[in-house]
């Protein structure tokens, strides 16, 4: 039989956005160490159902670390202490028998709690809508190879584009700043020749929307990079700062 452990969960329970939440203690016994963290919660939920209680609600979907839906703060760290993983890729073998595990939602005022551990991250969608795209109409593209792109730039763009939009960077930042997320998208497109035409508009628009959503600002502690499941670099933040400054100057000169 597979090895099992018993752990004590300190879980954030909150009925809805309007209700106040609190930490509840739930015992999780006989958890196979080969189970994933989310499967551990599945097992706990099965028992809660059997006891006639409501389940612990959490976001999840692909369970292979790419969709960005899962979003738990585990023992104070977004996606748990293992590096470069999402919550769904964390396994119970990382814990020991008798451990107490604190599970909280990704906290940020821009991410209101919907229920228990589920938060509303639509603020990130609205930031993308404010300029995180190349405004090209379907059917109007030229041949893909008519525009060679320096490999280094293409690689930098790809590294930034690997962002899965999970919001761990926001959750890990003491200021709930979305700079890593915003800068990753800005860097993806601003690095590429296709993104140049709208660079100024994109940078100013995305930053304005980011501020309007109530995210905090960056104090260069790099917690975001440390928890990012895709290891997005804070270089992108430096680039966004630079691009913001130059875009503001250009816009300012134009206005004068």
């Amino acid at each position: 039989m597979a090895e099992t452990i018993n752990v004590t969960l300190k879980v954030w329970k909150q009925e809805s956005t309007e209700h106040k939440g609190k930490i509840e203690t739930i015992q999780a016994d006989n958890i196979p160490t080969s189970a994933s963290f989310l499967e551990m919660l599945d097992i706990v939920n099965e028992e809660l159902i059997a006891e006639g209680k409501d389940v612990i609600h959490f976001d999840h979907d692909c369970r292979e670390g790419i969709c960005g839906a899962c979003s738990l703060n585990i023992n104070g760290v977004a996606h748990g202490v293992e590096q470069a993983v999402t919550t769904c890729q964390l396994h119970m073998r990382s814990f020991s028998n008798g451990d107490t595990i604190w599970i909280e939602p990704f906290r940020a005022n821009a991410f209101p709690v919907l229920k228990d551990l589920m938060v509303d991250r639509s603020a990130m969608d609205r930031v993308i809508q404010a300029g995180g795209f190349v405004d090209i109409r379907t059917g109007s593209a030229v041949d893909a190879n008519s525009l060679p792109i320096e490999k280094e730039l293409a690689d930098a763009a790809f590294a930034a584009a690997a962002c899965i939009g999970c919001g761990a960077c926001v959750a890990a930042c003491k200021n709930a700043s979305a700079m890593l997320f915003v800068s990753a998208k800005a860097a993806h497109l601003n690095n590429l020749p296709q993104g140049q035409a709208e660079k100024k508009k994109r940078v100013l628009g995305m930053v304005a929307q980011m501020d309007a959503e109530g995210f905090g600002n960056c104090t260069n502690q790099y917690e975001c990079e440390a928890v990012c499941p895709k290891e997005i670099s804070v270089d992108n933040i430096a680039k966004l700062n630079r691009d913001y400054l130059s875009s503001s100057i250009k816009e300012g000169v134009k206005t004068i």
Binding site: W102, A108, K174, N175, G216, Y222
Partner: protein, 229 residues
């Protein structure tokens, strides 16, 4: 106009204000430190330097500098305060708190900054305004020919060990503040990258040490060791 306004109300714009003013204030610290070191050259050199500072451009320079520095400090503080308020309202704390990479100095920035601000006020009252209560307003410092015995004032000022302790603690906090601040400003101004970030961090440690050791040498040597007593 609105672009300008947007820049100064945006989070990145305000951060840039903090970085640029921080950089200028840091440069001022270096110049200030250079002047201070004249204490160890001798009474005359130090007093000459003070005289020149007060009489350049017919005495206007010192006021331009004072107003400028005050403006820089005010901008630095006001922008920071508004950013801190934004950050404090951006989220509620976790019940289980933990950080993975954040340095201690980065966590202490608002505190160290605030303490340095108090110190600056104290320092101005102590050596610039020369409040009677702080004992630096002795008529004997006024020398003939408009000269002022700044050197003696400083030596006397640090004779009080409590004052020396305050200075020592304050310049230590200034060092901490600069350790995060100096490296950080390159990131905020978009000048750092994965390759250069480490170098900036090393430079930041060295420069903040220089500032701390330099400024601390005066209360230590003049105050505690009693070099000129």
């Amino acid at each position: 106009m609105s672009t300008c306004f947007n820049f100064f109300t945006s989070s990145i714009g305000r951060k840039i204000v903090v970085a640029v003013t921080g950089l200028l204030l840091f440069l001022f610290c270096l110049v200030h430190l250079g002047g201070n070191m004249l204490i160890f050259v001798g009474q005359e050199a130090f007093n000459d330097y003070a005289y020149k500072l007060h009489h350049m451009l017919h005495g206007a320079l010192i006021w331009i500098a004072r107003v400028g520095l005050l403006g820089l400090a005010a901008a630095h503080v006001l922008a920071t305060v508004s950013l801190v308020i934004q950050n404090k309202t951006a989220r509620e704390p976790y019940h289980f708190q933990k950080t993975v990479r954040a340095t201690l100095t980065s966590k202490l920035m608002p505190l160290s900054g605030l303490m340095v601000l108090f110190f600056i006020i104290f320092h101005i009252l102590h050596f610039t305004v020369r409040l009677d209560a702080l004992g630096t307003n002795d008529p004997s410092y006024q020398l003939d020919g408009g000269y002022f015995d700044a050197w003696q004032m400083v030596v006397d000022g640090f004779a009080n060990h409590w004052v020396s302790i305050i200075y020592l603690i304050s310049v230590f906090l200034l060092g901490l503040h600069l350790k995060h601040g100096f490296a950080s400003l390159f990131q905020t101004l978009g000048l750092s990258s994965n390759k250069t970030r480490k170098h900036f961090e090393v430079a930041s440690i060295l420069l903040s040490l220089l500032i701390f050791v330099g400024f601390a040498s005066i209360p230590v040597l003049v105050g505690f060791v009693g070099l000129y007593r």
